[in-house]
């Protein structure tokens, strides 16, 4: 169990000149002891780099890493006492399940009885007690990943468990089982868990707090709720949600917003600055409005799709497409008709230079 502090930047080049030379732009973050965090972002955003720096497999080119206040920047993974689960199962083929789980403890020279007890406990937690004497090589992928996980959990004093997209090779119908297992383990053992993924469903269901990253930069650290309601950056608004946030360019002048050729009253008490802005509203919050309502725009309906659990309406206003989600039973206008959508509302976010305005 450890409180991890990061204050670093990382570049694979010896003399980085500009932002694009950095794999990780300068950042400062704290991971609370016992918390479950997800590092979420598209491929190449630097999340695996950050994970490897935390585990000690990579030394950051600038800055430092602290575990419980102790500087471990140059310490080996062993010294930091972390565990890491990789994308594909990493097990020792020649050993049985029990021997695999016992391996880290044997290397630390724990007494035999202690090892057996720990292995038994972890195997039970992972529901693998019946397979302890089987050869690890012959098991299915999800069982092997559980063994990889078990090898990390079997050490009692493990500081943090780091996951690098561990469910990639697991069959989809087994993924939710493993995810549930992870949550259970977190609940029981209260370890610091850090989970790297590009799948937002995984991240949002697993973690208490999610770190959204893009191109080496930390965009936002927050609860799934905060990320959904108040994305700090346009990227976060776009990335989170299925589909992501709708954005409309607007001009703010003298209390009014010019949006797609329509002049709308700015919401009272908002105090938006003058100039070019982006209006962001999630499909879940784009409601149908009365024609001419304040803050609503007329749009031409392009398409209505029945997805089963919800309906998706695609409408065009000016040159922009808006997407809105509705309950399955709601009556929607047909394609070609005009619909008024409530763009400005309580859940609407405003962005200037891609950053959220308070």
């Amino acid at each position: 169990m450890a409180h991890i502090t990061l204050d670093l930047a990382h570049s694979y080049k010896p003399r980085p000149q500009q932002d694009s030379d950095y794999a990780l732009l300068p950042l400062a973050m704290e991971f609370q002891d016992g918390g479950a965090y997800a590092l979420l972002g598209p491929s190449g955003c630097g999340k695996t780099t950050m994970l490897n720096i935390m585990s000690g497999l990579l030394v950051p080119s600038h800055g430092k890493v602290l575990f419980d206040g102790r500087d471990v920047t140059r310490a080996t993974p062993q010294d930091r006492n972390i565990a890491q689960v990789f994308q594909f199962p990493v097990i020792y083929d020649t050993m049985t399940v029990a021997e695999n789980l016992a391996f880290p403890l044997k290397n630390r020279k724990l007494p035999e009885a202690r090892i057996r007890e720990r292995v038994g406990r972890i195997a039970e937690m992972l529901e693998m007690s019946g397979q302890l004497d089987q050869r690890a090589a012959g098991l299915a992928a999800d069982a092997k990943q559980k063994i990889s996980l078990g090898r990390g959990l079997v050490r009692e004093d493990v500081a943090a468990v780091l996951f690098d997209e561990p469910l990639t090779v697991i069959d989809p119908h087994l993924k939710w089982q493993l995810r549930r297992k992870l949550k259970q383990i977190h609940h029981e053992l209260k370890l610091t868990l850090i989970y790297v993924t590009h799948d937002q469903v995984e991240a949002l269901t697993f973690a208490d707090q999610v770190v959204v990253m893009s191109r080496g930069k930390v965009m936002q650290l927050g609860t799934p709720d905060a990320l959904f309601e108040r994305p700090q950056h346009q990227f976060v608004g776009h990335f989170i949600g299925s589909p992501g946030m709708n954005f409309l360019p607007a001009q703010s002048a003298a209390g009014r917003l010019q949006v797609a050729g329509h002049a709308l009253e700015q919401p009272a008490g908002r105090g938006l600055p003058e100039g070019a802005l982006q209006v962001g509203v999630r499909p879940e919050y784009l409601a149908l409005a009365q024609p001419g309502a304040a803050g609503a725009l007329p749009c031409t309906v392009q398409r209505v799709q029945d997805i089963g659990t919800y309906q998706m309406l695609t409408a065009q206003v000016g040159e922009h497409l808006l997407r809105a989600r509705f309950a399955p039973e709601q009556r929607l206008p047909a394609p070609g008709e005009t619909a008024w959508l409530q763009v400005l509302g309580a859940h609407t976010c405003y962005y200037q230079n891609e950053e959220l305005l308070p």
């Binding site: 080996t76 993974p77 890491q84 594909f88 990493v90 020792y92 290397n107």
Partner: protein
């Protein structure tokens, strides 16, 4: 590789027909001939008597043959005992990437591409005390080395020559096996606190098992070829000499 099973298609036999023709021409026909000769006593081209397994029995009983077979087995074993560990060690020492990897690869593989008689020539020169580096060096160190005079010197020279020639094959096979191990295994081992020996024993060696078996098989079979050359040359040549009418000799199979 696709997990689905391959479709059954008997017409595929047409695709492998060229291969079968070539190999049949090169292998089956000659093999039949050899088997044919080995069960006959050819007194003259016209008079052949089928004698069944008489030749084989005679050959098996031959004392000199037994001695030679024993020597051969010892040689093969010695070769394997030296080449396999040396090859593994070499594979572990070769760099994994960059220009150095290519350069080392070419230098190591060089001895595999030398025609076998040139290998013999190289070592023949190398071992001489008058014009060879090794011979002269050993002589100046006071060691009495003469590979044409002493049988044990010759044996050691042949062994060293074989090691020099063929260890790169083992090394290259193991090298490829090692390169196929993903980094994550080494990382996991570091995190688990495994020692270097444990890494070798539990990660590298198991992954090399496949290629190592091929290497052992190849080297063992190839080292036997030296024996078969001698046996076959004498055995079959003897039969052939009979066929073209030279006087017969008593007994069978001389070294």
């Amino acid at each position: 590789m696709s997990a689905t099973t391959k479709p059954v298609n008997q017409k595929a036999w047409f695709l492998i027909l060229p291969v079968l023709l070539c190999v049949a021409f090169s292998a089956i026909v000659p093999l039949m001939t050899v088997v044919n000769y080995s069960v006959q006593d050819i007194i003259s081209p016209e008079r052949r008597v089928f004698v069944g397994t008489e030749w084989f029995a005679a050959v098996m009983r031959d004392e000199e043959l037994h001695a030679a077979l024993w020597r051969q087995l010892t040689f093969s074993l010695a070769v394997l005992l030296v080449e396999i560990p040396l090859g593994i060690l070499l594979a572990l020492s070769m760099p994994a990437q960059g220009w150095k990897a290519s350069a080392v690869l070419v230098l190591v593989a060089l001895s595999l591409l030398i025609p076998w008689n040139v290998v013999g020539t190289i070592w023949q020169i190398y071992g001489r005390t008058d014009i060879g580096l090794l011979g002269a060096a050993l002589q100046s160190m006071g060691i009495d080395y003469n590979y044409t005079g002493h049988a044990s010197d010759a044996w050691v020279t042949v062994l060293v020559m074989d090691v020099w020639h063929w260890t790169p094959l083992v090394a290259l096979l193991c090298y490829a096996g090692l390169r196929s191990i993903p980094d994550a295994y080494y990382q996991a081992a570091r995190i688990d606190g495994a020692s270097k020996l444990a890494v070798f024993r539990y990660i590298q060696l198991p992954k090399m098992r496949g290629v190592l078996m091929i290497a052992v098989l190849l080297r063992f079979m190839d080292s036997f070829m030296i024996y078969t050359i001698i046996l076959l040359l004498c055995f079959i040549l003897y039969n052939w000499m009979q066929r073209v009418g030279t006087t017969a000799k008593e007994g069978a199979g001389h070294e």
